[in-house]
């Protein structure tokens, strides 16, 4: 355990699971966690955009994070969740395998990401937090949700 004095500041993160890894996004970027519901496919969008859902009257785009990170897709199950995140004016739902924990991470436990973690490009990561026996990968949502990339992909595909 860390000594009380060492804890300078903490970040609260929502922990979710993708494949075998645990990831975290800061709580203040998360608006809600939803169960999987009917997704309306939006044609001619990148593979990882699964479509849009009706989130209490707001049409919200949904991204499959596995696909976004180039991990193999799996069938959705009972534990599959949609984490609704907001970065700036962009509001997007992320499909994850499970979301079940909220924890505080001391800032000084966060280390810069190694080149490749579980196949996810380092650019999408903010860092890796080592907590006890857990390894938590913190996402850089700005990068994950960058629309630049969508536009680029668009021009490649189109």
């Amino acid at each position: 355990m860390l000594d009380q004095k060492e804890i300078v500041s903490e970040v609260k993160v929502i922990v979710f699971r993708l494949k075998d890894e645990e990831y975290g996004v800061e709580v203040n970027q998360v608006k809600s966690i939803e169960k999987l519901e009917h997704i309306t496919r939006v044609p001619r969008t990148p593979q990882f955009v699964k479509g849009v859902i009706n989130l209490r009257g707001v049409v919200t785009p949904i991204i499959d994070l596995r696909n976004r990170f180039g991990l193999e897709e799996s069938l959705y199950s009972e534990s599959t969740r949609i984490i609704i995140v907001a970065v700036g004016e962009v509001e997007v739902g992320l499909i994850v395998d499970a979301a079940n924990d909220v924890i505080d991470i001391p800032v000084n436990a966060i280390e810069p990401p190694p080149e490749v973690v579980g196949g996810v490009e380092a650019a999408y990561l903010r860092g890796v937090a080592k907590l006890d026996k857990r390894l938590l990968i913190l996402l850089n949502l700005d990068k994950v949700l960058s629309t630049e990339e969508i536009k680029q992909l668009d021009s490649i595909e189109g």
């Binding site: 009917h38 309306t40 496919r41 939006v42 044609p43 001619r44 969008t45 955009v49 479509g51 849009v52 859902i53 009706n54 009257g57 707001v58 049409v59 919200t60 785009p61 700036g88 004016e89 962009v90 509001e91 997007v92 949700l145 629309t147 969508i150 536009k151 668009d154 189109g158």
Partner: protein
């Protein structure tokens, strides 16, 4: 009294009146004999003067006052309009406009008005020598104003300042009673300010309070003894006014005496003399002028914050979604009474929807109105002759779009005048009429409003454009030869491009048409240009109506549902498979004698196959974009429905052929097809 709460209203109204003045001035210029225009201008100027004086913008009040004097002479046909006079009036209006802008930006609206004031006075005094007394009056008045300025205190009996006197005079001319009222309150009166307010209220219902003593502010703060006095103008009889005031409780006494304007204006005796005969002369004509004024004020409006309308709209959208849901439920349950009620609710909410939508719509006239004036000034500056033709000013657009579209249009018009229309000499040489024409046209088409700026000028010089684009590094010289005319024309909208040889003050200013383009695109519209060398250039702006609720046809493609806006549908039809023909490897059908290409939504949208058997019938939605048509092949028609337009959010931008989404009765999202993108 805190004037801030009225400031917004003042600015709005001042702008409206300036607009009206400008419009009428232009009409007057083309039709100088028509006194009706002068009357309109006079009316607006008069209101403007009153408003600005009330708000304490003295320079503005002064200037409008002087302008009004000139207008008055014109109105009474004692002065004929010359282009010099028009110019001076235009200048004054400009100055007032700049003051309003200053006030809008938080300034105090002060400006140096001495030059136009002097000019206006010169018109009144100089050009009007035939009728000595009025000239004398003007001079005398001028002296009075100057004297007042020097001393800073008005010297009249009732402390009436120059402005108030002038108002009183005019009112008297209009056949009103001009009186000085002294109201004394009961000694036991507790809420003196409230009583005073009731008196004011009563009086204002019958006439106009010109001035109070002590000031309104003091009276409101109860900084007065038992009595207060006021200068009052009314059409009612003195007795009626008296009894009206006495009807208010806790009023001790009221004295009403007419104000003797002759005596009160000793420095300007001539004014009174002219005023007296003028009174008789004008009385009949003004009898009709006064009610006319009332009717314009009678069109009752209230100003509502656009944000509130937005909120109303959003709430209503939610209601529409629930309405769809209810309809569906009622159908499923099949209870007659329930269905009847839902139907009734449908009708009511339909009406409600119409009202809410139209509440947000304003005619483009609001924006177009200011252009004739701008073109007039600009052509003088550029020594060109142009006739601006405005068509379709009554076309309505959403308020938010109206607010934003002014600048881009202004820019395009300036561009047409500066770069498009040639000088009169050049035009003559080219065998065109000396006067160029710029047509500003607005019209509805489908889901969009189009605004066209068309000139009959020189057209776009392709070589010059291309040369410049290469110089600026916008175009790679290697590609230059292969560019189509259209592509070259589009270069005008490229960032950092300006075709003017010399960056002129008119359309240069460092901003190019790229700004216009980005502005219009930010409104969800688009702009294109067409040009024929020697014949002219046309800029076409396409804007969405931004209606948040539209009628649409829901269609099914395999397991997916899509909405097609009704505005782009011509009709729906069912064809047999063998009616489909091939032309240039493109499936087409014969639709009422026209060959219409078919677009398979399943292919275009890569809809996953659900393995269902397709029968021999092909359901087609015939859609159009302008003159062009296309047939969208779907599996089945679900039906027509009112849908609420929702954006796909900031993350999914520019999705091909999808203009937005909507939420259906069952809570699912359906995408709205942008037919324009599907028709090439």
């Amino acid at each position: 009294m805190d004037m801030n709460q009225y400031l917004d209203m003042f600015i709005e109204e001042a702008k409206e009146h300036l607009q009206a003045i400008n419009a009428n001035l232009l009409l007057l210029e083309s039709d100088p004999g028509n006194i009706g225009h002068v009357k309109e201008i006079f009316r607006s100027a008069h209101t403007l003067k009153g408003m600005s004086a009330t708000m304490g913008f003295e320079d503005m009040a002064n200037l409008t006052h002087e302008a009004e004097n000139v207008l008055d002479l014109i109105r009474n046909q004692k002065l004929t309009i010359t282009s010099d006079i028009m110019d001076v009036i235009f200048q004054s209006v400009d100055l007032i406009e700049s003051m309003v802008i200053d006030i809008t930006e938080g300034g105090d609206g002060s400006a140096d008005v001495s030059v136009p004031v002097k000019k206006l006075r010169a018109i009144v005094a100089g050009d009007f020598s035939a009728e000595q007394e009025v000239a004398a009056a003007a001079v005398a008045e001028e002296e009075a104003v100057e004297a007042e300025k020097a001393e800073g205190t008005p010297a009249q009996e009732h402390d009436l300042d120059d402005y108030a006197l002038m108002v009183l005079e005019q009112s008297k001319e209009l056949g009103n009673n001009v009186v000085w009222i002294q109201v004394t309150l009961n000694e036991n009166c507790l809420l003196k300010a409230a009583r005073a307010y009731m008196v004011f209220d009563q009086l204002e219902s019958m006439g106009e309070i010109i001035k109070t003593k002590p000031s309104v502010e003091d009276i409101e703060n109860e900084r007065f003894e038992l009595s207060f006095e006021l200068a009052y103008v009314t059409m009612q009889s003195v007795e009626k006014v008296r009894s009206a005031i006495l009807n208010i409780s806790e009023i001790q006494d009221v004295t009403i005496e007419p104000i003797q304007l002759k005596k009160q204006a000793p420095p300007a005796p001539a004014v009174a003399e002219t005023a007296a005969p003028a009174e008789e002369k004008k009385a009949p004509s003004n009898a009709q002028a006064t009610p006319a004024k009332k009717t314009t004020a009678g069109g009752k409006t209230i100003r509502v914050d656009i944000d509130r309308l937005d909120i109303l709209m959003n709430l209503f959208s939610e209601l529409v979604i629930d309405r769809g849901r209810l309809e569906q439920l009622a159908r499923e349950i099949g209870n007659g009474e329930l269905q009847e009620t839902v139907e009734h609710m449908n009708r009511i909410s339909g009406d409600l929807q119409n009202i809410i939508l139209t509440m947000r719509m304003v005619p483009v006239e609001q924006v177009f109105n200011r252009f004739p004036r701008m073109i007039r000034d600009l052509q003088k500056e550029l020594h060109k002759k142009v006739n601006l033709e405005i068509i379709g000013a009554e076309t309505e657009l959403d308020r938010t779009v109206i607010d934003e579209i002014g600048d881009p249009l202004n820019h395009l018009l300036r561009n047409s005048l500066d770069h498009g229309i040639e000088s009169p000499e050049d035009r003559k040489r080219a065998g065109k009429p000396e006067e160029g024409t710029i047509v500003l046209r607005a019209f509805h088409s489908g889901n969009h409003v189009f605004i066209e700026v068309k000139d009959d000028g020189a057209g776009i010089n392709k070589e010059k454009v291309l040369k410049k684009a290469i110089e600026r590094g916008i175009v790679n010289p290697a590609n230059a030869d292969s560019m189509s005319d259209k592509q070259i024309h589009e270069l005008l909208f490229a960032a950092g491009f300006s075709t003017a040889e010399v960056v002129s003050d008119i359309s240069g200013r460092g901003v190019g048409l790229d700004v216009v383009k980005s502005k219009i695109e930010s409104l969800g519209g688009s702009v294109s240009v067409e040009s024929v060398r020697g014949q002219g250039t046309t800029f076409l702006i396409q804007l969405p109506l931004t209606l948040s609720i539209i009628s649409a046809m829901l269609v099914q493609v395999n397991d997916e549902k899509y909405a097609v806006p009704l505005s782009s549908i011509i009709e729906t039809a069912v064809f047999k498979k063998d009616q489909i023909m091939m032309a240039h490897r493109q499936k087409v059908i014969d639709f009422r004698g026209r060959v219409v290409p078919l677009v398979s939504l399943q292919d275009i949208f890569q809809v996953p196959d659900n393995g269902a058997e397709k029968d021999d019938d092909v359901s087609v939605v015939i859609v159009r974009k302008g003159e062009k048509m296309a047939g969208l092949v779907v599996d089945s028609f679900i039906g027509q429905q009112e849908i609420v337009l929702k954006s796909l959010g900031k993350y999914l931008v520019n999705v091909f052929a999808i203009s937005g989404a909507t939420i259906l009765g069952d809570g699912q999202v359906a995408l709205i097809i942008d037919c324009n993108a599907l028709i090439k």
